[in-house]
């Protein structure tokens, strides 16, 4: 370990011809720990400057597709040619690596710095999953240990220069976002992911209030699993009726080639938008219910990578533009464009 620059002295001994008092091993250990923390804090501040935009992705409830949205945002930004990283802070259930085709990857550590893995489209990824020997073993950590791991994931990682860092959190409003918002300077804001059903909406409202308490701006709400579109073929110009959720009849008419499509609102519709309106935060958009995300996640090939022109990729692209518009609210005022 590097020699600590800190020494101790006892004022009582000054002027009595005795040198500085040697610290006890325990004091030395404490000082080394404080020195390491100070170095990490300085490193975190430097990292804050090297990464232009930091976006937190949260949801009040689990299972709403937060990691899917995080990876989708990252890949959609990378498609624009931007330098992007994802920090998977979900220590107890990290699944970003699987979605990014990095399952089983081990981190490279050099010179005391952790080097992120590179996933699809060059997106840099750091995740707790990279440190687990057995994916079936749960991580059982109390708050302070978790806090230390998160600070290490921020301060000891060699991210390099990035345009965007997307931070994926576990569900809820606990330690993790609090630690990150206190450790990483100049966070642009939070994206809140929800599904349209009442339980998820209730929890997403808590997340919006939580953001206010952290003094982190809410960039907006994304409604995931918003509607499932069924395509079919029948006789040309024919009326079609489908029994939708809740016994609701959904009508459609086929075109001259007999093609028709109907969208089933499996988890209701529009809840994300109304929640955003209630709290006066932007609604960033709705993502369709797409089984391709499940398959893509399991296979390690994200839908945006496998089907860049598909409906889900287009929806992600629109959400990314809405996020960028929020961040671009204050464009370079001194730039004149004529």
């Amino acid at each position: 370990m590097a020699e600590s620059p800190i020494t101790t002295h006892d004022p009582k001994n000054e002027g009595q011809g005795q040198g500085p008092v040697q610290a006890s091993p325990q004091q030395n250990k404490e000082m080394e720990k404080n020195f390491a923390q100070m170095k990490r804090k300085m490193s975190m501040e430097e990292i804050g400057l090297k990464i232009k935009h930091k976006i937190m992705v949260l949801s009040g409830k689990g299972g709403v597709g937060k990691s899917t949205v995080s990876t989708g945002l990252a890949l959609s930004l990378a498609q624009q040619g931007l330098k992007v990283g994802i920090l998977d802070i979900d220590i107890t259930g990290p699944n970003v690596p699987k979605m990014m085709g990095l399952d089983g990857h081990k981190l490279h550590v050099e010179g005391g710095r952790i080097h992120p893995a590179k996933g699809h489209l060059g997106v840099k990824v750091i995740s707790m999953a990279f440190l687990l020997d057995d994916p079936d073993t749960p991580v059982v950590w109390r708050g302070p240990i978790k806090l230390g791991a998160i600070q290490q994931f921020i301060g000891d990682v060699e991210w390099g220069n990035l345009d965007y860092l997307i931070i994926d959190f576990p569900p809820g409003t606990s330690d993790e976002p609090l630690t990150v918002s206190q450790s990483l300077p100049n966070i642009d804001g939070m994206v809140i992911v929800t599904t349209p059903q009442a339980v998820a909406l209730l929890d997403s409202r808590k997340s919006i209030t939580f953001a206010a308490s952290l003094k982190v701006p809410v960039l907006g709400v994304v409604e995931n699993m918003s509607g499932y579109t069924i395509n079919g073929v029948t006789a040309a110009n024919t009326s079609v009726e489908i029994a939708g959720p809740g016994g609701k009849t959904i009508k459609s008419t086929s075109d001259e080639n007999g093609n028709f499509s109907v969208t089933l609102d499996i988890f209701k519709k529009g809840g994300g938008k109304s929640t955003a309106e209630d709290f006066g935060v932007p609604f960033l958009g709705a993502l369709p219910f797409d089984p391709g995300f499940v398959r893509g996640g399991d296979d390690g090939v994200h839908k945006i990578v496998s089907d860049p022109e598909g409906a889900s990729s287009i929806a992600f692209s629109a959400i990314v533009k809405a996020v960028q518009a929020q961040i671009s609210d204050k464009p370079s005022s001194s730039l004149e464009i004529i």
């Binding site: 232009k52 990378a78 330098k83 060059g122 960028q324 961040i327 004529i338």
Partner: protein, 117 residues
């Protein structure tokens, strides 16, 4: 030693190029053809990896009718150009525009493998 990038303070959209003014009073230009050929998006970037596809991209952008693009600032770090046809997806960081204005390869000779940087 590489010159440090000055701050871009003015962009004039002319008939066939951008006229750029930097805060150190340098005035430089980037033709619309060069700008569009250097689009950093994930669709256009890989096309520049091979001479054949790069030339194809070049002839495609040169086939478009010249017109002034809309310019949208992206945060404090980049610009997005909206064209009437072809690709408008690329987010051009100021460093990229600076490289193009100085007739340098904005990708530094690196092929597009894992992103355009």
């Amino acid at each position: 030693m590489e010159q440090q990038m000055p701050k871009l303070v003015r962009i004039e959209r002319r008939e066939s190029d951008l006229h750029l003014t930097y805060d150190d009073e340098q005035e430089l230009t980037v033709s619309y053809h060069d700008l569009r050929h250097a689009c950093p998006c994930a669709h256009c970037s890989p096309l520049r990896n091979e001479d054949e596809t790069s030339l194809k991209l070049r002839s495609q952008v040169e086939s478009f009718k010249l017109h002034k693009p809309s310019v949208n600032p992206v945060g404090h770090y980049a610009l997005n150009f909206i064209w009437e046809n072809g690709c408008s997806n690329g987010i051009f960081r100021f460093e990229r525009i600076w490289d193009l204005a100085n007739r340098r390869d904005p990708d530094g000779g690196k092929p597009y493998v894992h992103g355009a940087w």
